[in-house]
């Protein structure tokens, strides 16, 4: 049995997306900038995809810019808002400590260019409040960028309340919705979102394609210079198969969002209840305001990479925030941000489900994961120090 429980990393493509893409590789392979009929067929597909993606987000087609993915969209949103702010002498940006690196590293770059960045601390449940955002806004704040839902611990942020306080104070609001798009209801107009990033491969679409939504009137700065594609804001021949596949996948995800979420939430809660029986472990992230497919635990006394490798041997594909899985000394910045000590953050396990996971798979995981945790603890000197009372349990 192979169980894929790493859908927050990437998803398997849906048949719908693949079949939507194929004609744009073999039949309508043209360049949308070409005047001939082969090119114009591609241009038509591009326009239809733009309309479809816009409709899924409650946006206007002109507000949709296709990018190479979530990272590029995050980069462009932040750089654009920074440039707009700098023109008015506003060079302060607010974000959180547990954003994706596409946001955090772009903010680091902005700092080197004279911007000041405030990273709000995150509560133990992985949620920032609108009040905290409001309190951090200054007269020179040009942008608030806060993720819709966290990629590691799944906590959903109070996006509407945050966007409201931003607009009361005349500040642009961007959200990295890479984990949310296709999984949670999004309407940029109702939720008053100025800019939003998403990535196709998180909802059964293809890799290498994403969207930057920017409300009309927000002038984007180019990250990639060149031709006049995407109204001159993103050069490079459009990835037509990718864009068409993304539009099809997003449409499908939004059409079945309610039943998919109900299915995943039931499996998620069963997994959480089962894994909570493992002693000296703890759920990371908020219990209620949580992505339907996200499960994230820390288990004391073990290290995440060895846990993942042994689970893989049992056919379970999962993920961890341990340092050893990243090639750096530091464990997940997200787990550290919610206050997990280093020792505990090394022993994290993330399972992320999609609508294709089954209850039988959940039962199998609940049967195997505790065994692997027990096995690794049996050879862990840290666990021995904890059980013998030499060290105090943290969880």
């Amino acid at each position: 049995m192979q169980i894929y429980a790493d859908n927050a990393a990437t998803t398997k493509m849906s048949r719908t997306a693949i079949e939507a893409m194929l004609p744009y590789m073999e039949t309508y392979f043209g360049n949308p900038s070409s005047l001939h009929s082969v090119g114009q067929a591609a241009a038509e597909a591009l326009q239809k995809a733009r309309e479809s993606v816009a409709a899924a987000l409650g946006a206007d087609p002109r507000e949709i810019t296709f990018t190479s993915g979530g990272s590029e969209a995050d980069n462009q949103a932040i750089v654009s808002a920074g440039n707009l702010g700098a023109k008015k002498g506003k060079k302060h940006i607010i974000s959180t400590a547990f954003e994706h690196h596409a946001v955090l590293h772009t903010l680091k770059k902005m700092e080197s260019q004279g911007f000041e960045v405030t990273l709000l601390p995150v509560h133990e449940n992985g949620i920032v409040t609108a009040e905290e955002v409001a309190a951090a806004i200054r007269p020179d704040t040009c942008l608030v960028t806060i993720m819709f839902a966290n990629n590691e611990i799944g906590s959903i942020q109070p996006i509407e309340a945050i966007s409201r306080v931003c607009h009361e104070k005349g500040v642009l609001f961007h959200t990295d919705a890479v984990q949310a798009a296709g999984h949670l209801p999004i309407n940029v107009k109702e939720q008053e979102i100025d800019m939003l990033s998403l990535s196709a491969h998180k909802f059964h679409g293809p890799k290498g394609v994403g969207v930057l939504y920017a409300r009309r009137g927000i002038a984007l700065s180019n990250i990639i210079e060149g031709g006049a594609q995407e109204r001159g804001k993103r050069a490079g021949t459009e990835n037509i198969p990718g864009i068409v596949g993304m539009a099809a996948a997003l449409h499908e995800a939004c059409t079945h969002m309610t039943e998919n979420a109900a299915h995943m939430t039931a499996l998620r809660d069963k997994l959480i209840a089962g894994l909570e029986k493992i002693p000296h472990g703890a759920l990371n992230g908020d219990r209620a305001n949580r992505l339907p497919g996200n499960i994230n635990f820390c288990f004391e006394g073990i290290e995440g990479e060895s846990l993942l490798l042994l689970l893989d041997q049992k056919g379970i594909c999962a993920s961890s925030g341990s340092a050893c899985t990243s090639g750096s000394l530091e464990p997940s910045h997200v787990l550290l941000a919610i206050g997990r000590p280093h020792e505990v953050a090394h022993g994290s396990l993330r399972l992320s489900l999609c609508e294709w996971n089954t209850e039988a798979e959940v039962d199998y995981m609940l049967q195997e994961i505790p065994k692997v945790v027990d096995y690794l603890r049996s050879m862990s000197p840290v666990w021995k120090d904890l059980t013998s009372g030499k060290k105090k349990f943290m969880l």
Partner: protein, 147 residues
């Protein structure tokens, strides 16, 4: 290509010499839970020969495999030979480790040496202190920090 060699996976999934030795003649623990790796090695020594060795490790796959391999390489060997164990020899015996995992083999070498040092200390045997370098001196952590 897989992350680890078959040898590493074999020693990780079927680690040799896991456990503890009661009243061990030498015990050594190196590493730090904060950094994600701790190795503890227990030695039974008779007439200057390592007659038994066990380990406990908290860490990633390569840390467990390095501990397992290191214990296998010193079991039945005279203390003087065990002292010559190098991290390079452990890496070679494992058919290589990814560059950012080399520090695991350094930890294995140090854990063995730390247990041997404990044996010397317990038995008041004189030894050359330069044979036992500090964890901080290996350099791999520094390399990783720069990255």
């Amino acid at each position: 290509m897989a992350l680890y060699s078959e040898k590493v996976m074999d020693h990780f999934t079927h680690p040799r010499n896991v456990g503890e030795i009661e009243n061990a003649d030498g015990v050594g623990q190196v590493g730090n839970a904060k950094c994600g790796d701790i190795m503890k090695i227990y030695l039974k020594i008779d007439n200057d020969v390592i007659t038994d060795v066990k380990f406990n490790t908290f860490g990633c796959g390569s840390a467990i495999a390095s501990s397992s391999m290191a214990t296998e390489m010193i079991k039945g060997k005279p203390v003087s030979q065990a002292l010559e164990l190098t991290n390079k020899a452990v890496v070679e015996a494992l058919d290589g480790l990814p560059a950012y995992k080399l520090h695991c083999s350094v930890l294995a070498e140090e854990a063995v040496k730390s247990a041997l040092k404990d044996y010397y200390d317990k038995n008041n045997i004189a030894y050359d202190h330069s044979l036992f370098p500090n964890c901080e001196d290996c350099g791999y952590c520094e390399i990783k920090k720069e990255k």
